[in-house]
């Protein structure tokens, strides 16, 4: 790798250890995400994928280990810290508030306001307009930004959460099992958004159980098993069977 700034990995996590009481969830794991790369994080249930990602997004603090963002050491203590760095996460269940409108979800925590009297009032019209435009911009068509999210399909919800992350200038997009509950057609759409995000210059961490989906978009794989790093593999160096064996620990490649 050259010393050129663009070759600095977006994120480097080094020797991450996380213990919950006496249970060691992560035992010295490393993770690197390069610029404009789709990294698939693979592993069976309990392998530590979620824990690792929650450390990166500020939900958990690591017991020990160091995180570098764009080459600089950083402390990520809260989800807000992660966001400030440009790390946007789309959680499978925790993406949207179903009872609220698309617009109110889109701008949640970053609402646009204008000042009138002693209060800051929501600028609903402007937020509606921007939500519509921003989603159209990444190829997501919605009927009305005022529509409640509960009226949308699972795929539409994922699209909106991804569209939101793209719109708010994420440097690194983390997708936690985004395709696990979707139909075939909807999955295809979501995978397209991942490719689009990469083309726009973002890096993506894609967490999945589905090796077929992983193969369709991944540049590289990082595999975890029982809280330990199994290894990093370039897309072309492993077959789908290799991946399955590595995840289950049947053999090493």
């Amino acid at each position: 790798m050259s010393s050129n700034g663009n070759d600095t990995p977006v994120v480097r996590m080094e020797n991450i250890v996380k213990r919950f009481g006496t249970v060691t969830a992560l035992d010295g794991v490393d993770l690197t995400v390069n610029q404009q790369e789709v990294l698939c994080l693979l592993g069976d249930n309990g392998a530590g994928k979620s824990t690792l990602i929650k450390i990166l997004t500020g939900v958990y603090t690591p017991t020990s280990g160091q995180i570098y963002f764009e080459g600089k050491p950083v402390q990520i203590r809260t989800p807000a810290d992660a966001r400030a760095l440009g790390i946007e996460t789309v959680y499978q269940d925790l993406a949207l508030v179903n009872l609220m409108s698309i617009t109110r979800n889109f701008f949640l925590g970053r609402e646009l306001v204008h000042r009138l009297g002693p209060f800051n009032w929501l600028d609903v019209k402007e937020m509606d307009r921007r939500t519509h435009d921003a989603l159209a911009d990444v190829g997501i068509e919605i009927r009305s930004p005022g529509e409640k999210v509960e009226k949308l399909s699972g795929g539409e919800r994922q699209s909106i959460a991804i569209g939101r992350a793209l719109h708010f200038g994420a440097r690194l997009l983390i997708l936690d099992e985004p395709t696990s509950a979707l139909s075939v057609a909807e999955t295809r759409k979501v995978l397209t958004y991942i490719t689009n995000a990469k083309e726009r210059g973002l890096s993506v961490i894609f967490i999945t159980h589905n090796m077929h989906h992983a193969r369709m978009v991944a540049d590289r794989y990082t595999i975890l098993r029982q809280g330990k790093l199994v290894g990093n593999y370039d897309r072309d160096d492993v077959t789908q069977e290799d991946l399955a064996d590595l995840i289950m620990g049947v053999r090493e490649v």
Partner: protein, 334 residues
């Protein structure tokens, strides 16, 4: 499915998005019923009585509804109302300036709300249980500071603050014959309802309140400080309950150890009748206001029909269950 049925389903779903519309329809039906069935219902006196009796509870309901939308309960509001009343009464009787006594009582109420909020958010004990406990504890505080006795305002001259909080509006009342029963409490209720409604629907804080009640995980992931929003709503709720206690004392000039008992249940009932969801994330203060007005109208109407108060309780209970049943049916998919 025929076009008619499809349209009906669509209409039902649109109504389901505005549960307060159902409350409004119920309100109009009950209003029309009493207009026909109860003599003297359509008089300025009876109608202003509805407003006056709704106002003290209404101020409590606004806070309870807002807190419910953020996903939590407060069963201690009735006891908080009593504590505030005692602090206010005893401070004034001890010679404290009325305005200072009011601020003192409101601060005490806010602290009681803060305690509820901190217990719920820090321990994870459900607010239903937490505030059931603090309801008993705060009631104990009210008894203790009052020495178990009632406290009355005894000085000859009533402070101006009492008129500002809950005086009669005589120039308006005397326009009617027999005179109406407008009180300043109705203005406080109306102003608070409008201001808090705007806060809920048109500010960041309101947006966070809905999000925190609807899906706390999603709100947290978007950087919303979930616990802070909940604690603030607990404080708001308790402060409003305390304020209701002051309004009530300014009118009745006395407070007793049982004051405010049952208000917590009326507040939850009014909110639910008004379309506020028990599980959080859904509701409006317009609906909750309609809910408390509906209950007040029901009480006034049945009294005018010379029916015993037990009938009111039964009818109020039936309307509560019916409202939830209708809203559940409305939001069904098919």
């Amino acid at each position: 499915m025929s076009t008619l049925t499809t349209n009906l389903v669509r209409f039902r779903h649109r109504l389901a998005d505005m549960p307060e519309a159902v409350t409004l329809i119920t309100f109009v039906i009950v209003f029309l019923f009493f207009s026909l069935a109860a003599a003297n219902f359509l008089t300025p006196f009876a109608l202003t009585n509805v407003l006056t009796f709704a106002s003290v509870n209404g101020v409590v309901v606004l806070g309870v509804a807002m807190l419910m939308i953020s996903g939590e309960f407060d069963l201690s509001v009735g006891a908080t109302l009593a504590v505030a009343g005692y602090v206010f009464a005893l401070s004034i009787n001890a010679g404290t300036a009325p305005l200072v006594a009011m601020l003192f009582a409101l601060i005490v109420s806010a602290v009681l709300g803060l305690i509820n909020g901190l217990i719920v958010t820090q321990s994870g004990i459900p607010s239903f249980i937490t505030t059931l406990g603090t309801m008993l504890a705060y009631r104990g505080i009210a008894r203790a500071i009052g020495g178990g006795d009632m406290a009355s305002f005894t000085a000859a001259e009533k402070p101006i603050l009492f008129t500002v909080l809950n005086g009669t509006i005589d120039p308006l009342n005397n326009l009617f014959d027999p005179a109406a029963n407008f009180r300043v409490s109705t203005i406080w209720f109306a102003v608070l309802a409008v201001v808090l409604s705007l806060v809920l629907m048109r500010t960041r804080y309101g947006n966070w309140t809905f999000a925190v009640g609807g899906n706390p995980g999603a709100a947290r992931a978007q950087g919303v400080n979930v616990n802070r929003v909940k604690v603030l709503n607990f404080i708001l709720c308790a402060t409003l309950a305390g304020f209701a206690g002051l309004i009530q004392f300014s009118h009745r000039l006395s407070i007793d150890p049982l004051r405010g008992e049952g208000v917590e249940l009326v507040a939850v009932a009014a909110s639910v009748i008004g379309g506020v969801s028990l599980s959080g994330g859904v509701g409006t203060l317009v609906g909750a206001t309609l809910g408390v007005l509906l209950l007040s109208m029901l009480e006034q109407g049945l009294v005018l029909m010379h029916l015993p108060i037990q009938v009111f309780r039964a009818v109020a209970g039936a309307i509560l269950i019916l409202s939830v049943a209708i809203n559940t049916y409305m939001s069904r998919r098919e």
